[in-house]
């Protein structure tokens, strides 16, 4: 039986896709229209955070997140349609994050999307969450490929070259913790509450960033990989070694850790910028360096990246904060770009806890390979 009715909109009118996201602790739904010339219009963009539910635990609890997502997704989809003034019949596709992320949460958006797709006869588009981030700068402004991308959040820290839709080359990623984890876990040690990143930044304002000597991760090691576990451990040992830590000690350590993370991000990104310049000598200066992910909100990190970019002949581009952190607009955008290319998915599409972004490239061009598969890949 053919369940697909004729599409309500032709490509000339633009394609409309609903995107759903639930891979960490934000439940989100968004609807985007893509004009035939590639211009993007955001028709609805909703995010339901869970910070209060996780705050007492000092971090995201996967089962709490999954329970909240499962209760929220259908309501968010309905609210997004309502806000856009559309019905499901007006859509051309239904996109959902199908990984990587906390698997119980990922399933909520993906299963909701499957129900919507089967019920409406619209195609399902399973989106790699990281591809959403990689394309997110294109939500707010036209940006030509290729560009260098630093994705830095609580779940991911990686450097990628976005070569085209569906083609991403990973230059490096974290070998252990994500940068955002280093922020959050240090904030927890210092008793600063959750979410830890913003709390640590506030505390660091009054601190002396030069007071504590912290190790430089992967010092002198070639390549663009990151490591933050050692930094986090060193910060904890310093804190535990202070007999009666004062507010000033707390602020100084927060500032020192923040500066060390910013330095590490900037120095590895510097290597990636050199690689990019070598690989694409024809791209005129300033070359594009995009930073996305929640850590991009940190002013010290951003300043360090801006300085490094300036020295290397790059300009730093950061999407608006609402599209830097997890959101569904970027999922709908990635879904639209896949739909335009005829890349839709079957109803048996799996939810995936791990899904390295270059696996997307590997599928299209096996010569690229799927890269390292690790817990933070």
């Amino acid at each position: 039986m053919d369940l697909a009715p004729p599409s309500s909109s032709t490509q000339a009118d633009g394609l409309i896709v609903l995107g759903l996201e639930s891979s960490c602790d934000e439940s989100a739904a968004a609807i985007l229209r893509r004009q035939a010339d590639g211009r993007i219009e955001v028709l609805a963009d909703l995010v339901l955070g869970q910070t209060e539910a996780h705050a007492p635990f000092g971090g995201v609890v996967p089962e709490i997140a999954a329970r909240a997502h499962a209760e929220a997704m259908d309501g968010l989809a309905a609210a997004a349609l309502n806000e856009a003034g559309l019905s499901l019949a007006d859509l051309d596709g239904i996109a959902a994050t199908s990984g990587p992320g906390l698997i119980g949460g990922v399933m909520a958006a993906l299963m909701t999307a499957k129900g919507l797709a089967l019920g409406s006869g619209k195609p399902l588009i399973a989106v790699n969450h990281l591809e959403g981030h990689a394309l997110s700068p294109r939500l707010s402004e036209p940006l030509d490929f290729p560009y260098l991308l630093l994705l830095v959040s609580g779940g991911h820290t990686q450097l990628l070259i976005a070569e085209a839709v569906g083609r991403y080359r990973r230059l490096g990623s974290t070998l252990d913790d994500a940068a955002g984890e280093a922020f959050d876990k240090t904030a927890k040690v210092l008793g600063l509450g959750f979410p830890g990143g913003p709390a640590l930044e506030r505390c660091a304002q009054e601190g002396d960033a030069t007071r504590f000597d912290l190790p430089v991760p992967l010092k002198g090691k070639p390549g663009c990989d990151f490591s933050f576990a050692g930094l986090k451990t060193a910060a904890r040992q310093i804190w535990d070694g202070l007999e009666t830590p004062t507010e000033q000690d707390r602020a100084d350590l927060a500032a020192s850790v923040q500066a060390a993370i910013a330095r590490a991000l900037a120095s590895r990104t510097k290597r990636a910028m050199d690689r990019f310049a070598e690989d694409y000598p024809d791209i005129a200066q300033p070359r594009p360096l995009v930073v996305a992910g929640g850590v991009a909100a940190n002013r010290t990190v951003r300043a360090a990246l801006e300085e490094a970019a300036g020295h290397a002949g790059f300009s730093l581009i950061a999407p608006p904060m609402k599209w830097c952190t997890d959101n569904a607009a970027m999922i709908a955008l990635a879904g639209l770009e896949k739909l335009v290319r005829g890349q839709t998915d079957e109803l048996d599409a799996p939810a995936r806890a791990r899904w390295p972004l270059d696996a997307v490239s590997a599928k299209l061009d096996p010569a690229i390979g799927s890269g390292r598969k690790g817990p933070k890949a």
Partner: protein, 216 residues
């Protein structure tokens, strides 16, 4: 009423369709895991075999557990998305209620779910026509000790914890898992206003507060 019912609370991935004037269509696969992959194609194929378009569904029912947390969410999230798209009612039915229905109306009855880690979830139907007790989670040894106060001695036992509670010496119904026809029956009787398609979790999320404290 065209009624679709789904159960992914255990090792089976099950879908069932009841249409006026037609025999029930019941499809069940023992897959253990991978419900998120199998469920939607099974529903699609079931509707196709019945010649029914999704939009012709009037009600979509889901077994809400207790059972596998992740598995239960697979069905509830899917059912709610499907119901939204089909403008159908979405309802949830507890596995304990379905098994009580399977056991028939000869109260008193205890339906007990094996919640693992030495715990059971119990619900008691004291007598015919009366509202059952609220389900409660108890350590197995406490459940065995307290059974005499929780239910009359002539109560019969159903549910996945039947073996665990065997030492109590109650007569057993032999009903230990959910039957799809019974799920359809209960789904048809459910009230969309009160029987929401939300998972019935056997226990709160595993998470300790800083300092190893249990959440309030």
């Amino acid at each position: 009423m065209n009624l679709l019912a789904i159960d992914t609370t255990g090792p089976d991935c099950s879908v069932a369709l009841r249409q006026p004037g037609a025999a029930d269509r019941l499809v069940s696969e023992r897959i253990g895991r991978g419900h998120a992959e199998r469920l939607a194609p099974m529903v699609r194929d079931l509707l196709a075999e019945a010649g029914l378009a999704p939009a012709q569904l009037d009600r979509i029912a889901v077994a809400t557990g207790p059972g596998s947390f992740a598995g239960t969410r697979v069905a509830t999230a899917f059912a709610r998305g499907l119901a939204l798209a089909c403008q159908a009612e979405a309802v949830g039915v507890s596995n304990l209620v379905v098994m009580a229905h399977q056991a028939g109306t000869d109260a008193p009855l205890i339906v007990a779910h094996d919640a693992k880690r030495g715990e059971v979830v119990l619900q008691v139907w004291a007598s015919d026509g009366e509202t059952p007790s609220d389900p409660q989670r108890l350590p197995l040894d406490e459940a065995l000790t307290r059974l005499p106060e929780l239910a009359p001695a002539e109560a019969r036992l159903a549910g996945s914890a039947s073996d665990l509670l065997a030492p109590a010496g109650l007569s057993r119904t032999g009903i230990e898992s959910l039957d799809l026809s019974a799920l359809l029956d209960c789904a048809g009787l459910a009230d969309p206003q009160t029987d929401k398609p939300s998972p019935f979790y056997a226990r709160p999320p595993d998470a300790k507060l800083p300092g190893g404290l249990e959440p309030a």
